[in-house]
């Protein structure tokens, strides 16, 4: 498997003086194509911050994030936005779907941001809604969908631009155990392929079994990296 991304000695802190908190302390890791990589750990361990650093959302204080051999944090503000748009697909914890748009319009957003034609974007978005099994609900607003369905819409929106890297932040936090497991099964079987890498931040041990590798974090540092989805102890 080729290297999808490499994080090198990432450091990030928040606040000033006495209130300064080291969120990430010298973290380095690699993620590979075709891999479903979990970042796990207790609340406040720095999982979400790490995900933000590697996906071009939050700039590290030091260290680098290499994607296809180039450091994304050496890009300008517009280029980093383009990087996120073209290379990364996001699934947020609360989905952040637009209740005033229809489901298919929500899915089409990344394509519209890429300045694709409106109707063409909706057509492609429809295809991806079919992939997640929600084509029949395309014209409904997301508020009319169940939590699991909204999660699938968020996934369709994340993959519609065919990004290489998919990042999921606590994808099962708002779902019951069965729905969460089913969706992650779907992601692993239908979305993941050998040209894509998926990084998932979670502390939901019900879905650990689906991970190819797991990075375990504590106090802003990686304390363990394991193959497969089992954490011992």
């Amino acid at each position: 498997m080729g290297e999808a991304l490499r994080a090198v000695q990432l450091e990030k802190s928040f606040g000033e003086g006495a209130a300064k908190t080291h969120a990430i302390r010298g973290v380095s890791f690699q993620a590979y194509w075709g891999e479903m990589l979990y970042v796990v750990g207790p609340s406040g361990s720095g999982k979400t911050t790490l995900l933000s650093l590697v996906s071009g959302i939050l700039k590290p204080d030091s260290g680098s994030v290499l994607v296809e051999g180039r450091d994304i944090w050496k890009l300008g503000p517009n280029e980093i936005a383009d990087f996120r748009l073209n290379k990364v697909g996001f699934v947020f914890q609360d989905y952040h779907l637009f209740p005033k748009l229809t489901t298919v319009e929500n899915v089409a957003i990344p394509l519209i941001l890429k300045k694709q034609d409106w109707n063409e974007s909706l057509k492609i978005a429809m295809e991806f809604l079919e992939v997640v099994g929600l084509a029949q609900k395309a014209s409904l607003p997301p508020t009319k969908l169940s939590g699991g369905e909204q999660q699938r819409v968020a996934i369709a929106r994340a993959i519609v631009g065919r990004p290489d890297l998919l990042v999921f932040d606590e994808p099962t936090a708002s779902l019951d155990g069965t729905t969460g497991k089913r969706i992650l099964d779907f992601v692993k079987n239908e979305i993941l392929n050998d040209k894509r890498c998926i990084v998932i931040v979670t502390h939901d041990n019900r879905i650990f079994g689906l991970a190819d590798r797991m990075i375990e974090m504590e106090d802003g540092s990686i304390v363990n990296v394991r193959s497969g989805g089992k954490i011992e102890g």
């Binding site: 933000s52 959302i57 936005a81 996001f90 957003i109 519209i112 941001l113 409106w118």
Partner: protein, 378 residues
């Protein structure tokens, strides 16, 4: 339409409550602004009614005259001097004064009396009843049928009345483009009868009306009239002078301007607050867009588009509502005056753009500052 504008539009109009509040606020502000400025325009037009109705291209006045009510009589030699100025085709006197009319009911009613040059009758009203040559018959007056006409008891042709203890007879009923500002009826007669019937000072010419031989001759006439110590003004200049008098020396302009500003502030506060709330409620969504890959410039253009769209809808509705009210007012309300013109609309347009700009300014700052990381943190 570009896709992001379509998204912006859907986010805006599908939030019906906010959109309605936004549009109502702007509509109300534009309605107030257009109403007030139109009423002011109407007042100014009425204030210039003598100039508009007479239709003379050039007016010679005493340099101290600021409005048609305060005419300063000109000596007869001024008329002769103006007639001898190069470029003048003809020049005639116009009398303007106030006469006290005693109606058949016994009531008294002041009226503006305009005395037209006996020979040319320059500045005469368009007659809707009667014949203009009847103005030369004994005691003849033409009454203007405007909103003040009823104050003379709606006199038909043949009605007799007293004016300053002289007998008067209505021989014609006329129509003029612009009614009088001061709420009194208007009577036309000949210059010679006017100065005979109404009490006068030593000099009796209120204005000398001049017909230039050509437009090119106007500048020369103005210069030559100035040399004899008087002012010649074109009709536009005279109207502007009258407007300036009412704007700056009577308090009317200042008060209307203040009320217009209050209308602007009302619109700004309603739409600014609503738009700010709208953006605040959608801040997370804008953050999500940013995380997905939208650039700040794109988000700013979306917000500007939303502000501009609601402003234009509000502008259209506000202007439409004003036009409707003005049309209704003119039809049913006596003495109602309001004129919508290019400048009213242009001023309202500039103010609505300001409302849009200021409303989204604070919102834009919020959106630029929102960090996509905040979306991740939840």
């Amino acid at each position: 339409m570009r896709g992001i504008f379509k998204i912006a539009l859907k986010l805006l109009v599908n939030d019906r409550g906010k959109f309605a509040a936004l549009v109502v606020g702007i509509t109300f502000a534009i309605f107030l602004i257009v109403q007030l400025t139109s009423i002011f325009s109407g007042i100014l037009a009425k204030a210039s009614s003598t100039v508009i109705n007479t239709g003379s291209r050039l007016w010679v006045i005493d340099p101290s005259v600021q409005n048609p009510l305060n005419t300063i009589p000109l000596p007869d030699y001024v008329l002769d001097a103006v007639r001898s100025v190069k470029g003048v085709e003809y020049a005639v006197p116009l009398y303007s004064g106030i006469g006290l009319v005693k109606l058949n009911s016994g009531a008294y009613q002041p009226a503006t009396v305009l005395g037209l040059d006996d020979t040319s009758l320059l500045g005469r009203p368009e007659l809707i009843q009667g014949h203009i040559e009847d103005i030369y018959s004994n005691n003849a007056f033409i009454v203007v049928k405007d909103q003040e006409y009823a104050k003379l008891g709606n006199p038909p042709i043949g009605t007799t009345f007293e004016i300053n203890d002289h007998r008067g007879v209505i021989v014609g009923i006329g129509h003029v483009p612009e009614g009088s500002l001061f709420g009194i009826p208007t009577l036309y007669t000949t210059y010679s009868r006017a100065i005979q019937y109404l009490p006068n000072t030593r000099f009796t010419i209120a204005y000398v009306l001049v017909k230039p031989k050509s437009e090119a001759a106007i500048a020369g006439i103005i210069d030559n009239v100035a040399k004899i110590g008087y002012r010649a003004l074109t009709d536009r200049e005279f109207e502007r002078e009258i407007s300036n008098y009412y704007k700056y020396q009577t308090g009317v302009g200042t008060n209307i301007m203040m009320m217009t500003f209050i209308g602007f502030l009302v619109g700004l506060s309603i739409s600014g607050q609503t738009f700010y709330t709208f953006v605040l409620e959608n801040l997370e969504k804008f953050g999500a867009l940013k995380a997905i890959g939208a650039k700040n410039s794109e988000l700013v253009s979306m917000i500007l588009f939303q502000a501009l769209f609601s402003s234009m809808v509000g502008y259209g509705l506000g202007v439409g509502l004003s036009a409707l009210l003005i049309a209704t007012g003119k039809r049913f309300v006596p003495n109602y005056t309001a004129d919508i013109g290019f400048w009213n609309l242009a001023l309202a347009f500039v103010l609505v753009l300001l409302i849009a700009g200021v409303s989204c300014l604070v919102a834009v700052r919020k959106v630029i500052r929102v960090q996509p990381f905040e979306i991740f943190r939840g």
